[in-house]
Amino acid sequence: MSEQDKDIIVCRCEDLTLADVKRLISKGYRTLDELRRIGRLGMGPCQGKTCRALVQRELQAAGTPLKHQLPGTYRPPTRPITLGSIAAGSSEEASKDAQ
């Protein structure tokens, strides 16, 4: 790990640096899902669109070739949405309920 790694942002949403990612990998977290659970990588607004490939490269450097890496779990929603929007439902359904 170089001194510079502390100044290299990998996950912009959750403010994780290359040094953070390398430290987690060296602790034995070797899949995207593990890194997400322990470090919140890919859990921000972009849902990993920026950091995923960069983290995959570090996992590869740590010994897991890209094609053997587990992809990580993708769940809805693709983008954060407020609970209020979901609770309100669509206006269409609301008017149907009213009838």
Partner: protein, 361 residues
């Protein structure tokens, strides 16, 4: 819940054509896009397209966007929802979306996922400084809003996007200090490379960016040479004063919805990473989901447009609402795809598709 015959997710070159094809036999179509206009990346493309006349070669991307958008808007059976983000695609054929802050559900017999791709990022010191842009953002600023991103740019990546955006920067009166490319050779078409070289822009192959420096925004970049193992060669570092660093280092298919819907996914580097398995009609392992465009594999807009047609027509056959000459149209689309991918530039795609076909559903 909104119910339609065919739902097309993404209104770029693939999605626009998929919607037109899907509606051609009378099916009801819903076309979604997260932007406030249709056209996807086409609206930023002020350059002329290559290929043969059938794929609108010689036409500028932005003009193609206008003609396809006009055709879609002139088709009453296509409903368009703009500023709509697809949130979840479930295996019972229901899609959830957020449309202008409202949460809605869509039920369709068939889906065409044409979500495109996202830009790749690089890890280097200072990559979060204002002034570090993706090439797509630079194109949006210049070609959509008429705003120069800065005075002097370092372009990272000599693929087609890096080369074309460099040329567009020059056209806008912005100077391009250099184009750096990690690979030992230029990735884009030589005709594009020649244009920027003639304008005096150096293209430094086997070079990469080490650092962006600056107090509050980018004031310069440190670049260096790479050895054959892509490792920086000590002593080759040089500082280049620039106020913009533009990253054009590749695209990743935006396949979140396909993962969610449990489509079989394959890692195919030639197609840009993880892509859904699909048959020759672009049908994924989930029979009700088709793919078209960059989400199926990173390629040019010309093939995306034809893939959209192919997926749209096959979807109409599934639900019994196909135009009478559908088999002729499907055959023509397949022939065009073969033609578009026939040259040396299509080799990567051909290899990638061969790898997909070698896999079982």
């Amino acid at each position: 819940m909104k119910t339609v015959d065919i739902c097309v997710i993404g209104g770029g070159p693939a999605g626009l054509n998929a919607a037109l094809a899907a509606s051609s036999g009378g099916a009801s179509v819903l076309l979604l896009d997260n932007a406030d206009h249709l056209g996807g990346q086409l609206v930023k493309q002020t350059h002329m397209f290559f290929g043969s006349e059938r794929q609108q070669a010689g036409t500028r991307g932005i003009d193609i966007a206008v003609s396809l958008t006009t055709a879609v808007q002139g088709t009453p059976s296509i409903e368009v929802w703009l500023e709509t983000t697809a949130l979840g695609l479930y295996d019972d054929g229901v899609l959830t979306v957020e449309c202008l802050g409202e949460y809605r559900k869509v039920k369709a017999e068939r889906f065409v996922v044409a979500t495109g791709a996202s830009e790749k990022m690089l890890a280097f010191k200072g990559n979060d400084l204002p002034g570090v842009y993706g090439a797509g953002a630079v194109q949006t600023l210049m070609n959509v809003f008429g705003i120069k991103p800065g005075q002097r740019v370092l372009m990272v990546g000599a693929g087609n996007i890096g080369l074309i955006v460099s040329y567009q920067l020059l056209q806008a009166g912005v100077s391009v200090a250099a184009i750096v490319e990690g690979a030992p050779r230029i990735g884009g078409y030589l005709v594009h490379a020649a244009k920027v070289r003639r304008a005096g822009v150096p293209i430094l192959t086997s070079h990469t960016i080490l650092e962006a420096y600056g107090q509050d925004s980018v004031e310069g970049a440190v670049i260096c040479q790479l050895d054959q193992a892509w490792q920086p060669i000590k002593g080759t570092e040089q500082k280049i004063p620039v106020d913009v660093i533009c990253l054009a280092v590749g695209l990743s298919p935006l396949s979140d919805l396909l993962w969610q819907a449990d489509c079989r996914m394959l890692y195919i580097p030639e197609l840009g990473g993880h892509v859904a398995w699909r048959d020759e009609s672009l049908r994924t392992s989930q029979p009700y989901i088709f793919i078209a465009g960059d989400v199926a594999g990173i390629e040019e807009a010309s093939s995306a447009m034809v893939e959209g047609l192919l997926a749209g027509y096959v979807a109409t056959l599934d639900i019994g609402l196909a135009p009478s000459d559908v088999s002729e149209r499907i055959r023509a689309a397949r022939e065009q795809l073969v033609e578009l991918r026939s040259g040396p530039e299509g080799e990567k795609t051909r290899l990638g598709l061969a790898a997909v076909q070698g896999e079982a559903r």
